[in-house]
């Protein structure tokens, strides 16, 4: 039951999320946007932790999740395309065009 509580109740703080969004350079952040981003981020954390636990099961390890599991989980999520890749504005191709990857 306490695990269910820990699943439902925590949420990433809206104030901190707003600071983060503002620091990315967006001019105006409306409060519905902050709420949506908090929801998306929470689900992303869930995917990360689930995949990390899956990795642990595969490697037949137990105990608290270690950073190596999280890194492997992140790599797998990237392969599945669930993580936005940065648009390659810093690495221009040979003919000088920018490539956008999604």
């Amino acid at each position: 039951m306490s695990r269910y509580e820990s699943f439902r109740r925590p949420a990433l703080q809206k104030t901190n999320m707003k600071k983060l969004l503002v620091s990315t350079g967006s001019q105006k952040i409306y409060s519905p946007m902050t709420i949506v981003v908090c929801g998306i981020a929470k689900m992303f954390v869930g995917e990360l932790v689930e995949t990390a636990r899956f990795v642990m099961k595969e490697r037949k390890e137990s105990g608290p999740t270690r950073p190596c599991h999280s890194r492997e989980a992140y790599r797998r999520l990237k392969l599945e395309g669930k993580v936005p890749k940065r648009s390659v504005t810093k690495a221009l191709s040979v003919d000088g065009t920018q490539a956008h990857i999604w």
Partner: protein, 129 residues
């Protein structure tokens, strides 16, 4: 001097938005740490997750949110300003997230309506007295 996002943390006011680099910005470490620990337990981790794991997850999430925000900004700039639809467009390929977001937005609307109705009732009470 820009710190790498996984490097040392520097405690400065998060309101300093004059960062030229988009890969790193000054922020307090442990921005979401307390909530993240409970959240990770709720999603299947140990009741006491390792602090290194929590820090790594926080870094990953911050990078994720930043990348999403930049992409949304790119999409929104064509229209002029950033809006919720831009974020929804970004997660269109992820049904669970999309459903959760639509649910959150509709709940928000409901709460707004409920609050409005509550205020109207109060006014009625005040006028009848």
């Amino acid at each position: 001097m820009n710190n790498s996002s996984t490097g040392s943390s520097s405690k400065s006011k998060a309101g300093s938005s004059s960062q030229p680099s988009e890969t790193s910005f000054k922020r307090k470490r442990g921005l979401f740490q307390k909530d993240l620990q409970h959240m990770m337990y709720g999603f299947g981790d140990d009741p006491n997750p390792l602090p290194e794991t929590v820090a790594l997850v926080e870094d990953i999430v911050v990078e994720y949110v930043t990348d999403m925000a930049h992409k949304a900004q790119e999409i929104g700039s064509k229209r002029g300003k950033l809006s919720v639809e831009d974020f929804l467009f970004l997660i269109r390929k992820d049904p669970p997230k999309l459903n959760r977001c639509t649910e959150l937005l509709s709940m928000q609307e409901e709460l707004k309506q409920a609050r409005k109705a509550f205020e109207v009732d109060e006014e009625k009470l005040a006028s009848t007295e």
